[in-house]
């Protein structure tokens, strides 16, 4: 890659490296990054081994995601006085994520953190790790790292030195915290998340796919709704991609944007895109063949506000990617939209589902009226040779509504320099399934449904504290906005506008309202904003 900034250029000329514009290659990029590490990091770190495959102390014994490396470098800037330009930082992050990253299977269990989709309670965290590490930050933060045992032990030492009162917190002061953390938990981490794994060896050797082309995209933007679009990606200088996104929301309003993306570790898609004047970010993972990407798109200024996003590469083969809405109530004529690419041929919505009228049809979108008379269940949706298994849920009666996220935290703000942290909600409908009982395993998931939103106190104590009155409001689109920060003279003890709420979704089904709720904590600001929580 040609050097992209003045300081890099200086460095390269200084080290006698000759670069010709246009002779971009991964190895030059890597040499570039290694030189930046030498120039910027070796005041504290040391280099050993062969110059072509150097070992940098504390750096070479770790593997991380792009966000993990960015987090580390930012920490070096903030805590250790590292001087590095933004361009150099990007270069080093890419080099380290490419050469010391995580295999897709290693990152898979923790993608929510990379996608900044953090309104959830992590489950199945080992007790020792929960008590030692995940009581202050997410389990995904360390689950997305691979280190040697010695490196994990040095991380314990970092915590001891940087945050010495760690030993006095609960779950620490009642035991020999340091000995347990250093001699037991770090060893456990070294076994559970080791530096060297077959998964990473295999991924390093795997042929990586280019992600340029046309992609059929579907997703959701809070406040705007579901959308379908085409994303066009093309390779740009420096291994980056240019991208554009053109499509429409479910209500027919257009969606248009363009931006740039970087692919890390051969599969981690990270894009910055401006859509209709709003800056957003995409975090997706490509599959091994580079044929599909899945992840989340969210506001650049508010990472909590976002929604799922999927992209399927156009290979000129016919494909159905989604049906919107994804459910059909028996006996009712309903408008459905089939989203796909290269659609051609007869439409078949499964046994017992009649296509009453095709309202509009193109090769990537079919708008039709359908009516179901058959049994309840998921149907495969076919258009010619293209098929989407379980693309449509036929149901008799809405039995249960699930609010997502089930557990969330909003944060007061707006009056100090700390912004409010909002929460975007959606409602998922279920029918009772064959056993006729809602809340059992055979419930049929119908998909996201429009809902009326409200809040109420979580319990008696929250009602007594008037939490629902002070803690915030929810709008018609299901976006909760917390109250202002600062002591509130109207509350007992001048308390903040914090509270524990139930967020209620009310979904209408044939005139009957079915309700579900989620648990929302409205809390104080988080004054330390990190790349990964």
């Amino acid at each position: 890659m040609a050097p992209t900034n003045k300081s890099t250029r200086r460095t390269l000329i200084g080290s006698g490296v000759l670069l010709l514009a246009g002779l971009a290659s991964a190895s030059v990029q890597a040499d570039d990054a290694k030189q930046i590490i030498r120039d910027r990091c070796l005041a504290c770190h040391t280099e050993s081994g062969d110059a072509s495959a150097p070992n940098f102390s504390r750096i070479s014994e770790q593997r991380k995601t792009p966000e993990g490396w960015l987090f580390t470098i930012n920490r070096m800037i903030n805590l250790r006085g590292l001087q590095i330009s933004d361009d150099e930082k990007r270069e080093v992050v890419r080099y380290l994520a490419d050469t010391q990253g995580l295999a897709p299977s290693e990152a898979a269990p923790f993608r929510y953190l990379l996608e900044q989709d953090t309104n959830l309670v992590e489950e199945g965290v080992d007790q020792a790790l929960a008590e030692t590490c995940a009581r202050c930050h997410s389990a995904a933060r360390f689950g997305l790292q691979r280190r040697t045992t010695e490196e994990w032990q040095l991380l314990v030492n970092f915590h001891m030195g940087q945050f010495p009162t760690t030993e006095f917190h609960s779950l620490a002061r009642d035991r020999k915290w340091y000995e347990i953390a250093h001699d037991e938990v770090a060893v456990q981490l070294g076994e559970q998340y080791p530096l060297l794994t077959p998964a990473w060896d295999n991924w390093k050797q795997a042929v990586k796919s280019d992600l340029d082309g046309r992609w059929r995209v579907t997703g959701f933007v809070p406040g705007k709704g579901e959308y379908d679009a085409w994303m066009t990606t093309s390779k740009a200088d420096g291994g980056r991609y240019n991208l554009s996104l053109e499509g429409q929301y479910a209500d027919g309003s257009p969606l248009s944007g363009s931006g740039k993306a970087t692919v890390y570790t051969g599969y981690e898609w990270r894009a910055s895109i401006t859509i209709d004047g709003v800056k957003m970010r995409q975090v997706m993972a490509a599959d091994a063949k580079g044929m599909s990407m899945n992840g989340r798109m969210f506001l650049a200024s508010e990472r909590e506000i976002g929604g799922v996003m999927s992209a399927l590469k156009d290979t000129k083969a016919p494909a159905v990617v989604a049906v919107m809405p994804s459910y059909l109530r028996k006996g009712e004529s309903t408008a459905l939209t089939i989203i796909g690419q290269n659609l051609d041929g007869d439409i078949d919505l499964g046994p017992g589902v009649k296509v009453e009228k095709v309202l509009e049809r193109s090769d990537d979108r079919i708008h039709l009226m359908a009516r179901a008379t058959g049994d309840e269940g998921t149907q495969s949706v076919q258009v010619g040779a293209a098929e989407l298994a379980s693309g449509l849920a036929v149901y008799g009666e809405l039995a249960r509504v699930e609010v997502t996220p089930q557990n969330a935290v909003a944060r007061i703000g707006g009056m100090s320099k700390m912004p409010k942290v909002r929460v975007a909600y959606r409602a998922v409908g279920y029918s009772a399934g064959a056993d006729g009982k809602p809340g059992t395993e055979d419930d049929l998931r119908l998909g996201y449904m429009p809902a009326e939103w409200s809040i109420k106190p979580a319990d008696e104590m929250a009602a007594e504290e008037k939490d629902a009155e002070f803690a915030g409001t929810i709008d018609a689109a299901g976006i909760f906005t917390p109250g202002d920060d600062g002591p509130n003279p109207k509350r007992k003890m001048m308390a903040n506008n914090v509270g524990r709420l139930a967020v209620v979704a009310s979904v209408k089904d044939a005139g009957e309202a079915v309700e579900g709720d989620g648990s929302l904590l409205v809390s104080v600001p988080d004054f330390v904003r990190r790349v990964l929580d």
């Binding site: 700390m418 914090v498 904003r529």
Partner: protein
């Protein structure tokens, strides 16, 4: 403890968790990603999953805890990591509008 009577809500909550087994159960509670509940009290939640045992309003004794890096994941610890945080906000309960965050997430 059996000879002591809890007078207020916080004391009643503490009373609910007097046996070591219960304490263990309570403090191992998982919360939403990014929240700290277990550092007696937590920043977002108390060890009982409520707000009753938290310092409120948080501005009234913010530095009492931040200085000792009590919640270093959520509040800049002024002991080591960010000694200058809050420098211009001598009294958080009065000057809380000037409180700012540390943004370590720059690209």
């Amino acid at each position: 403890m059996k000879h002591l009577k809890s007078l207020n809500k916080k004391a009643q909550l503490i009373n609910q968790a007097v046996s070591p087994e219960e304490v263990e159960d309570v403090v191992a509670m998982q919360t939403v990603v990014g929240c700290t509940a277990t550092t007696d009290p937590g920043w977002e939640l108390d060890p009982f999953g409520g707000l009753g045992s938290l310092c409120q309003p948080m501005e009234s004794d913010l530095y009492g805890c931040a200085d000792a890096c009590w919640w270093p994941a959520q509040v800049p610890d002024t002991m080591h990591t960010y000694p200058d945080w809050g420098k211009d906000v001598a009294k958080a309960n009065e000057d809380w509008r000037k409180l700012d965050g540390i943004f370590e997430d720059g690209e």
